[in-house]
Structure formats: C-alpha cells, structure tokens
C-alpha cells in the first residue's frame, strides 16, 4: 500500500444556504482545499463525493464546475457517514496505486425537521415509519435512559457535553451555531425525546467540505511540508447484536452500546500498532448529547459507564485527557450529513498542522482520529503528522 497524505482541506461554513445551489456550496471548500494543497485542479485524477440526500448529477456537476477534464467521479451515499465513505474510497484509490491525486468532497442541503430512517414506499417498513419508530433521537434517548439506570448518567452530564460543543462552536468560523449556550440553557430548552432536549441535538444545517489527497511520492513534487499522513482507514456495519434490537435495521448503527465503534477501533489500533493513549484528539460522531459518552468508552478512553463523568469533569476539553469535538462537534458545528465526515478530517488536519487557531490543542498533537457513523455504518480514519 502506498502512503497517502492529505494535502489540502476546506469547509464552507455550516448553516442555512437556501439561495445557493449545491454546486455553488461545494465550490467554496473545493477552492479552499485546492489553494491549501498547492495542487491545480487539472492534476486531479479522480473525485469521490459524499451526500445522502443528493441527486445523481450533483457530484459530476460539482466537480465539472472546475473543468470537464474527463476524470472518473463517484458519488457515495452512506447516510451521516457519506463524507467519510467518500474519503475512505479516495484513500484506497491512492493507497492501491490506482491514482496519485484525488479530490474528496462532501455536501448536503437539508430539509426541515427530523430525518426519517428510510422511505416507506421504498423499503416497505410501514410499521417503523408510520408508527413513529424511525425517530433517530429517540433511539439514543432510549440508550441514554437505560444508561441512567445502569451507570447513573444524569441530565447534567448530557448538558455538559452539549455545553462543551457550544463553548467551541463560537470559536470555529465554520460552525453553524456561533452562540454560546450554558449547561443551564441546554437543560431549559424544549424536550425532543426525553431526556434529549433541543440544544442537546444537532441543528439542521446545509454545508460542504473538501479535501485533496495524494500519494506521498507525488506530494513531494508539490511540497509536502504541511502534508498529514492517513495512517489507516477502517469501516464496518453493525453485527447481529444490534439487529436483535429490532425492528428497524435502518436505525441499527451504534446507538445501543457502541459495539460497532469498539470493534472497528480495536481493529484500527491493532493494525496501526497504537492505542487510545497515543491519540489526544478525536472528532467523534455525536449528533445528540450522550453520543460522546458512548464514543469515548467504545474508543477505549475510559471504562464503560464513565463517559458522562468525563464530560462533566472536563476531561474531554481541549486541554483535557482527550480533546473531543474541538470544532463544536455535530451539536454546534452542525451536521449536513455528507459534509460532516470530510469536515472532521479538515479540523484534524488543521490541528495536526498546528493551525487550529483559538481551538488549537496544546502539546503539538501527533495523531488524531475521525469517527463518523451513518445509520448502520461506520468509517474511522487515523491521521498522523
């Protein structure tokens, strides 16, 4: 396998962009990423674009906006993990030696309200959809409710995770939510699915993000002093343990106990020969408060049941034992499905380069982890300076 590096990253501020087409939205981060990489568009040999709610010509139009160079363009659809799925396929296309310079982009133009886990006329899961069982936050709410019984998780712990996101959001120029909310604000906001309140939930955001990746050999031609290595790409889907929580395999995934995250991260640690103690910064997929608890436990940072306490005690802050979601995470940065996974990579690349600005974590981090979950799928990337 060839060494793969990230040469450039870019993000369009997450928010609401009703007047911009998806082509105009994606143009912004691709321009930033190309400039950041020092690589001209004409050198791009392939493109992978992630989106869940997009339409088939989008990816082609987004890339051909920069030139009809005749390169293969692929669109990846993997729910909330569509962006990291595009990054994963791009990574393997370079690691395998098929291409040297590849563009990755993620974008999403969201609708309103809760996102249903499927379409009744397509999947015929009428009971799931019509009976109101496809409400995503209800799944994590039920998992958290059970944790409250088992581990003593509290609403204050959930509020601490959300408040940490709102502490960092205003310091991230790409974050949707630029307002600082306190834990008390989070607790006082309207209930969505008990015990999850509105401010414990990711907002509805449009957005786009991009990255330029390259083989190390080719990167040297452009100047690779700021290049960040992709140490590994790992992926998985839930196993039968999650399925036994049915009906609703569409909403399987990692909401129950983080088993998928534990399994895939274990594989990553073993293959790369590192452990969580070596990774001081993590972007983890937590669209609702409590998601962070499950993640840091499953990723091996603390024991099962300790995640909530870690957030409450600030061990997950920028200067804590592991810096979690330094860009405000899904709750404050926002979560335009396909854009999220690539934006996570962008934040980690900036951090590893020491270009994290007001959100820069101390002690020059050397390794970082991007964790992105879709309904029933997970992509995990380890980056190294």
């Amino acid at each position: 396998m060839n060494e793969v590096v990230v040469m450039g990253v870019g993000t369009l501020r997450f928010g609401r962009w009703p007047n911009k087409s998806v082509i105009e939205m994606a143009e912004v981060p691709i321009e930033i990423a190309l400039k950041d990489s020092g690589i001209p568009f004409k050198d791009i040999q392939a493109a992978y674009v992630g989106s869940e709610l997009g339409h088939f010509p989008d990816a082609r139009m987004i890339v051909q906006n920069f030139g009809w160079t005749g390169i293969p363009i692929s669109q990846m659809q993997q729910a909330c993990a569509s962006g990291s799925a595009a990054f994963r396929e791009a990574y393997f296309s370079v690691a395998s030696g098929r291409y040297d310079v590849v563009l990755v982009a993620g974008y999403e133009k969201m609708g309103k309200g809760l996102i249903p886990g499927g379409m009744p006329e397509q999947d015929k899961e009428y009971h799931l959809h019509y009976m109101g069982l496809d409400v995503t936050p209800a799944r994590i709410a039920m998992a958290i409710k059970r944790r409250m019984l088992t581990y003593g998780d509290t609403a204050e712990m959930l509020a601490a995770e959300a408040a940490q996101c709102f502490e960092y959001g205003p310091l991230n120029p790409y974050a949707h939510n630029q307002k600082k909310y306190t834990a008390a604000d989070v607790l006082a906001s309207p209930m969505i699915c008990s015990p999850i309140t509105l401010l414990m939930s990711c907002p509805i955001s449009d957005g786009a993000s991009a990255a330029i990746i390259c083989s190390r050999k080719k990167a040297k031609q452009y100047g690779d002093s700021r290049a960040i290595t992709v140490a590994g790409s790992f992926a998985g889907t839930p196993d039968y343990n999650d399925l036994m929580g049915g009906p609703g395999p569409h909403i399987g995934g990692d909401f129950k106990g983080g088993k998928l995250t534990a399994r895939v991260s274990k594989e990553a640690y073993e293959k790369i020969g590192i452990g969580p103690e070596d990774i001081k910064i993590v972007q983890c997929h937590a669209p609702f408060a409590g998601g962070g608890f499950i993640c840091i436990e499953a990723l091996g940072y603390c024991r099962e049941g300790e995640g909530g306490k870690w957030f409450l005690e600030g061990k997950t802050k920028i200067d804590g034992q592991v810096a979690v979601n330094t860009d405000g995470g899904l709750i404050a940065r926002g979560h335009p499905l396909g854009a999220t996974g690539v934006a996570e990579i962008g934040e980690l690349v900036r951090q590893l380069r020491g270009e994290g600005g007001a959100l820069q974590i101390p002690n020059k981090p050397k390794v970082a982890m991007a964790h992105n979950v879709g309904l029933g799928c997970l992509n995990l990337h380890i980056l190294k300076k």
């Binding site: 019509y130 009976m131 309207p190 929580g245």
Partner: protein, 143 residues
C-alpha cells in the same frame, strides 16, 4: 342500509404484513423466527438467520408479555408518522430473549418505568382510502 357495493366489503388490513397473526385462540400474536442452529430469535421474522445466514429457521409466535427495557417520550413528529406526539416509544424485552421497539399506549406517560410488565395488542391505527380498518401492534401495561 349498508352502503357497501357488492364485493367491496370492509376489511381489516395489517399496516405491515408478517409482524403478527391471528392464533387459533382468536388472539393476535407477534411472529418471530429462530435459527435452528444458532438458536437466536429475531423479530420481525427473518428468512435468513441474522447471525449465521442459515435459511433453516423456524417461525413461531412470541409470548404476549414482556418488560420495558428502556423508553423515551417522543415530543416531535417524524415526516411519515401517523401517531400524534407526545407518545411513548419503548424497547420491550421479551422472554424469548429478543427486544421489540414499539409504541407504548393506553398508559399514563409519566408512570412508565423500567421493568414494567406490558402486553402486546393490536389496534386500529387508521382507515385507508377504501374505508378498510388498518391495524398495527402496540404494547400496553399488562393488567
């Protein structure tokens, strides 16, 4: 005085086929599958075992009673939902070692708790364009 035209008699139609069936006792029961090799039970029933992929599965009726494993009161409506919030979503643990996501109805939302005994029942949830009753399963506190 029936307004039904010949051949258009009103029927009772399940919201989704295969989730429950009328037993010989005249009651509705949930339908699950169990792998003959792994012995794992799945609901809804599966053609292939969710663990080993074997098609050698037996289809059987689950018990009618279970216990609330966890729950959440849903206060927002998803796009396709025909149930009006607030409603209680619950994960019910069945004696056959399978969990079922369900609406918990006919209960005081504030009184729902872990381990609560609940039982399955079938309820009319809507009427279709032809005037047929559409039925689905729910759980309620066990008497």
């Amino acid at each position: 005085m029936s307004e039904n035209v010949a051949g258009a008699e009103k029927m009772t139609i399940p919201l989704q086929e295969g989730l429950f069936e009328m037993g010989s006792d005249g009651k509705y029961h949930l339908v699950a599958s169990r792998c003959k090799s792994c012995k794992l039970t799945f609901f809804p029933k599966r053609k292939y075992c969710g663990k080993c992929g074997s098609a050698d599965v037996e289809v059987f009726n689950l018990s009618d009673r279970g216990k609330v494993y966890t729950f959440s009161q849903v206060d927002r409506k998803s796009v396709y939902t025909i149930i009006e919030p607030p409603y209680m979503e619950a994960d019910v643990e069945m004696p056959e070692d399978v969990h079922i996501y369900t609406i918990l109805d006919q209960c005081d939302l504030k009184s729902v708790d872990f381990g609560m005994n609940v039982e399955v029942y079938v309820d009319k949830v809507k009427q279709d364009e032809a005037g047929n009753d559409v039925i689905a399963f729910k759980f309620k506190p066990a008497a």
